[in-house]
């Protein structure tokens, strides 16, 4: 019995043992499956990473702290001239650099082992070619914090270096002629000033403009323009020799540093330069002329800065160009005064906008059929704190040149619209009068004009149909779609568009017909002699008839005498404006 029990116990014992073993085996199998799956995923991830590392154009190398290479990607192998399957087993990382750059690599490695390093290194390709690289080196630590391996990722800087060198070259040398460019020229002037201490009056800077370069460019093409310019540079160089430095500082503009010549000799040199260019050039089988204008400035002391000398030479050049080609002008005190005055005025004008120094005057426009005031033209005046009232002719050009016209023009529109509303509120029971304001061509594209005008109308509450916007003919002469689109959008706001000074410029019947125009203003030149000149009368009559045929309104400007008004009335002119009917006056002086 006890034997049986013992056998039963033994059997139970064995069964428990078998159960334990089975359980352990099942668990081992499930762990093995999980590990195999994890391993597969991990291998795939590693493979992906390896593919990326191999595909990158950057050099990726992994090495032991002692420098022995463990892994090197395709780009790295290319540096060493190794194929994909070549072994790197016995190579060290410093094989990537030439012997003279190994010190730099080693010190980078020392820094990497202490944390990390980044900077520039020089690799050497197997053919001996040096490759500048930007590199990052990192030490990777293991279980016990000891460095297991170091990785370096290096990017080829060759292209960037070439690009930087080219940028540097471009800043200092003109591509076309190989001459020094402006930056370099100014440095030479600086050195010239230092050299000429004691004889500064024998140093001068010339700015030379090739008048016909742009014409050649526009008519025969850029290539021909460039060839002409290269030939001009050669010829100038022939005159100057190595005594004076020639530079190209703009599209058709050269600068010359003249050293050790007195005033007379410098003027002689200018004449020789102008003469040299008078002889025709032959470009692409054509004879071309490239007349020059030169501006000269003599050094005025050791405080003269190169930039100022060049600026003044260019101011003199501008004067020479105004006087016509084949000329030179010497910068003098009068030019300096003008330049200074212009600068001052620009400064003042900038402030004028902020300080409310601008005012609008209004000139009446009379309806010839009723003899009543139909509207006014708003004309800007500058109430200068020191110079008094300045007429627009003195400052509008400056505002145009400096871009101040955009802000100024917007201010005029705002004031005009506000005034328009005030007129309507003051005489609600009478026929609405209009206010006409001038718009510069620069405003047309400077900002989102249409939105600006829309806002002005909104804020002022003025009736759009009584706001007239005057533009000179040259705005309409532009044939581009953009001009047309801006004008159409402007017109769709309800404002009326006026062609100012019609007949003075490139009057074209095409634009009068196709552009959204409401009013045509006949230029004063046809009016001033109207009662005496039958030709003027014919022209004015023709314009009036044409404008009426197009169902537009016609205004005659510059009416100063009663007979002129009578003739215009007979001709059926709608509106007139001029001293005979009223000068521009402040709003308070208007006879409403």
């Amino acid at each position: 019995m006890s034997m049986d029990l013992s056998a039963a116990e033994q059997l139970a014992q064995l069964e428990r043992r078998v159960a334990r073993e089975r359980l352990a085996r099942q668990e081992a199998e499930s762990i093995a499956e999980r590990v195999t799956t994890d391993l597969y995923e991990s291998l795939r991830a590693t493979h992906r990473f390896k593919e990326i590392l191999h595909a990158t154009p950057d050099v990726v190398a992994v090495f032991q702290p002692d420098g022995k290479l463990l892994d090197l990607n395709r780009a790295g192998r290319a540096v060493l001239g190794l194929g994909e399957s070549d072994s790197i087993a016995n190579l060290r990382v410093d094989r990537l650099t030439s012997p003279e750059h190994r010190g730099a690599l080693r010190s980078a490695m020392a820094s990497a082992l202490e944390g990390g390093w980044d900077g520039e290194l020089s690799f050497q390709r197997h053919d001996g070619h040096e490759i500048p690289v930007s590199a990052v080196m990192v030490a990777h630590r293991g279980h016990d914090e000891r460095v297991e391996y170091v990785s370096v990722i290096a990017r080829d800087l060759t292209e960037r270096k070439v690009y930087e060198a080219e940028l540097h070259y471009r800043a200092f040398f003109d591509q076309l002629t190989g001459l020094p460019a402006q930056e370099s020229f100014l440095r030479h002037v600086q050195q010239g000033l230092a050299r000429s201490l004691g004889a500064l009056d024998r140093l001068s800077v010339l700015a030379l403009d090739v008048a016909d370069y742009r014409t050649v460019n526009e008519t025969l093409g850029r290539e021909a323009g460039n060839r002409l310019l290269a030939a001009v540079a050669d010829r100038l160089h022939g005159v100057l020799g190595s005594a004076h430095l020639l530079a190209r500082i703009g599209a058709g503009e050269f600068a010359i540093l003249v050293e050790d010549l007195d005033r007379d000799q410098t003027e002689q040199l200018c004449i020789r330069l102008v003469d040299a260019l008078r002889r025709p050039f032959v470009v692409e089988g054509r004879q071309l002329v490239a007349r020059a204008a030169i501006g000269v400035v003599f050094c005025r002391g050791d405080r003269d800065r190169p930039e100022n000398l060049l600026r003044d030479a260019e101011a003199a050049l501008a004067r020479a160009i105004e006087s016509g080609a084949d000329r030179y002008e010497i910068f003098d005190d009068a030019m300096r005064m003008r330049a200074v005055e212009r600068l001052e005025m620009e400064h003042d004008l900038r402030r004028a906008l902020q300080r409310d120094e601008l005012v609008l005057h209004y000139q009446p426009e009379i309806d010839l059929r009723t003899g009543e005031l139909a509207g006014v033209e708003a004309l800007v005046r500058w109430n200068h704190p020191l110079r008094g009232l300045i007429p627009p002719g003195t400052f509008i050009g400056l505002a145009e040149d400096t871009g101040l016209i955009v802000g100024l023009g917007q201010w005029v529109l705002e004031q005009a619209a506000a005034q328009l509303k005030a007129f309507h509120d003051a005489r609600p029971d009478r026929a609405p009068m209009f206010v006409s304001a001038n718009l510069s061509p620069r405003q047309l594209f400077a900002t989102d004009l249409v939105r600006v005008v829309e806002r002005i109308l909104e804020i002022s509450g003025a009736d759009p149909s009584s706001l007239l916007i005057e533009m000179t003919e040259n705005v309409f002469a532009g044939t581009d779609d953009r001009t047309l689109s801006v004008l159409r959008n402007l017109h769709s706001l309800g404002v009326k568009l006026v062609v100012d000074d019609f007949g003075a410029g490139h009057s074209s019947l095409r634009y009068v017909k196709s552009f959204p125009i409401d009013v045509v203003k006949i230029d004063r030149v046809f009016i001033s002699n109207l009662e005496h000149d039958p030709a003027d009368r014919a022209v004015v009559k023709a314009i009036i008839d044409m404008v009426h045929a197009l169902d537009l309104t016609v205004v005659a400007e510059g009416v100063e005498e009663a007979p002129q008004a009578e003739i215009l009335t007979e001709m059926g002119c709608d509106l007139v404006q001029g001293y005979y009917f009223g000068r521009p006056v402040p709003v308070a002086d208007l006879q409403l």
């Binding site: 668990e27 293991g142 016990d144």
Partner: protein, 181 residues
């Protein structure tokens, strides 16, 4: 605790005391008794098994751990000779535990939490191992050290003047080696 430790314990118990003893230890301790080397098991299981062994073999718990470590080491040396053959003496082998042995353990068992020892060498033939672990298995470490000395046919005197079991923050195993005659 990794399953391999349980496997080693089963092996040495079975070798020295027979398979029935292991059966009894499993039953007494209430452990599952089913272990695979790659698996992870609760630390309390090894503790219960050691307690059961102490009771069953009428030995103090610390001695059971020393015996287990010493006997387990010879099995490890058979299974992983690559860790042992580069060295001719215990001291050099022990010094590789952190950097090489445990680094390899992590490769086989990525989730293993191997202890990190600090080493100090007061003399050419002596070594102080500082051990800090919540498992507090310093006596097992003593056994491993003794097993390693036996493997290299060296005498070793092992003392623990500082021990977590006596309220210290860490354990300090002082090993003094001497050649066998």
């Amino acid at each position: 605790m990794k399953g391999i430790i349980f496997n080693l314990l089963e092996d040495v118990v079975t070798d020295d005391h027979g398979v029935e003893t292991w059966d009894r230890l499993v039953e007494l301790s209430g452990a599952t008794g089913a272990y695979t080397s790659l698996g992870n098991y609760d630390d309390s299981e090894i503790s219960s098994l050691v307690d059961a062994a102490a009771e069953q073999l009428h030995q103090p718990r610390d001695d059971v751990l020393r015996w287990f470590g010493e006997r387990a080491l010879s099995r490890l040396a058979d299974r992983y000779p690559q860790f042992f053959t580069p060295h001719v003496r215990t001291l050099d082998f022990v010094l590789t535990i952190n950097g090489i042995v445990h680094a390899e353990v992590v490769k086989l068992y990525p989730d293993a939490r191997a202890p990190l020892f600090a080493f100090d060498r007061p003399g050419p033939d002596s070594l102080v191992l500082t051990y800090r672990s919540a498992r507090r298995l310093c006596h097992l470490a003593e056994g491993f050290a003794a097993g390693a000395a036996r493997h290299y046919s060296e005498q070793v005197r092992i003392e623990q003047p500082v021990c977590m079991h006596r309220g210290d923050d860490e354990c300090r195993l002082m090993l003094e080696f001497g050649m066998t005659g």
